[in-house]
């Protein structure tokens, strides 16, 4: 495995934000993203995906650490206060790192 690092940033938030958030993420320079459906619980209570208003999504973005910082700052400013959202990141080894930088 080529030892080439990139940052994986994961966002778990309300499904209603999908369209808006993807637009933001792409504008901040993310080279791509992946989404799956989720449910969960946190500060803002239970979100059990019983219906759309109550569903979460889990977004993953592999990108450079600079873009990752931009994304997490942007989320903190624009969404953290009013939306159910958590965000975490870690270093990962990627195949073909150029794809993500």
């Amino acid at each position: 495995m080529t030892d080439n690092n990139a940052t994986l940033i994961t966002i778990i938030t309300e499904a209603a934000l999908e369209t808006t958030l993807i637009k933001d993420i792409e504008e901040l320079g993310a080279p791509g993203y992946s989404i799956s459906n989720a449910r969960g619980k946190g500060n803002r209570g239970l979100r059990d995906a019983a219906w759309e208003a109550n569903s979460n999504i889990r977004i993953e973005v592999i990108c450079s650490d600079i873009v990752a910082s931009k994304i997490s700052e942007h989320l903190e400013q624009k969404y953290y206060q009013n939306y159910a959202m958590v965000c975490f990141s870690a270093e990962v080894n990627v195949l073909r790192p150029k794809k993500f930088n």
């Binding site: 995906a49 219906w51 208003a53 939306y83």
Partner: protein, 315 residues
């Protein structure tokens, strides 16, 4: 045996299952499917009816109903702000919910009318669409003022192209373009199954309503009273407007129900994006936890009684 429509029993069954914390659930895509069928069917019914009469004759009615859609949220906003002591965003959001309409409530009213063999103007479906949107716009303005920052293009896109409005409009147009004989071939799915589909929808609504009940305690007395008094007042306005538009008794009752109903799908979604500082639990508790069950269990028969009484005395 009882005279309660079985679809209402499905709602109560869902409610009970939810309260008992049963693991019963309608799979989420089935819930979406069932909602979609209801919306298309309601649209189709309205559209077929439109095919039978010149559209122009409806324009006055449409304008009056649309005006009401803009006015209703303005009536409750001050109540929420001053009496309810809610902050501006929450007051505006709740006002938008109650100014708009609930398609589920409309479907139950339609089922009520047909099981009691009460005639009504089929083009009422058109009013669902017309009443859905204006309150959202008013709600946003109430929350933010006429600020230039509001991305009205986005809001309009979100609202007009949201699932609810689209399926209703799609059904309306298809029904209108196909006419009564055209839709016959698709009627086994859309018309014959209507009440069964409504039953499944209400089962899940019961479950969702049950999940709102816990928040009810938190918000207490004001929200509870608001969620019951508002629909009653709005139903009176709706009934009077209906009389003014010379609707039949059934039509007046349905318009009263529409006015009395509060949105729990289109408006919450729009508010979440456009007025994010409003607390969605608050407005959903009111519209879904209080007003929806009130309307389908108690309200609709009352509104029908209201419609007949007013009709008899005023006309």
């Amino acid at each position: 045996m009882s005279t309660i429509d079985p679809v209402i029993w499905f709602f109560l069954f869902g409610l009970l299952a939810g309260v008992l914390k049963s693991e019963l659930r309608l799979p989420s895509q089935i819930y979406d499917f069932v909602s979609m069928l209801l919306l298309i069917t309601i649209g189709l019914k309205g559209g077929v009816e439109l095919a039978n009469q010149p559209f122009a004759t409806l324009i006055p009615q449409i304008l009056v109903v649309m005006a009401a859609g803009f006015l209703l949220p303005l009536l409750v906003f001050p109540v929420l702000l001053y009496l309810g002591k809610l902050n501006r965003a929450d007051a505006a959001s709740i006002a938008a919910h109650y100014g708009s309409v609930s398609v589920g409530t409309f479907a139950v009213a339609v089922a009520f009318m047909s099981s009691q063999n009460i005639e009504y103007e089929q083009h009422m479906a058109l009013f669902v669409v017309i009443l859905e949107v204006p309150a959202i716009l008013v709600g946003i303005v109430l929350a933010k003022g006429l600020s230039k920052n509001t991305q009205w293009a986005n809001v309009g896109h979100e609202v007009m192209l949201g699932k609810g409005v689209m399926f209703l409009m799609g059904g309306l147009f298809i029904g209108w373009l196909s006419g009564p004989s055209g839709v016959e071939s698709i009627s086994p799915l859309f018309f014959d199954l209507f009440k069964g589909v409504l039953a499944l929808f209400l089962l899940e609504m019961g479950l969702i309503t049950a999940s709102q009940l816990s928040s009810l305690k938190r918000y207490g007395f004001f929200l509870l009273s608001f969620g019951i008094i508002t629909p009653i007042c709005f139903s009176v306005i709706g009934a009077l407007v209906g009389l003014g538009l010379s609707l039949s008794v059934g039509g007046v009752a349905i318009l009263a129900t529409l006015f009395a109903s509060a949105s729990y799908i289109a408006v919450p979604a729009a508010m979440r994006i456009s007025v994010p500082e409003a607390n969605p639990t608050l407005s959903l508790t009111a519209s879904l936890g209080i007003t929806f069950p009130f309307n389908i269990l108690i309200g609709i028969p009352i509104y029908y009684w209201l419609a007949s009484t007013l009709h008899a005395s005023l006309i």
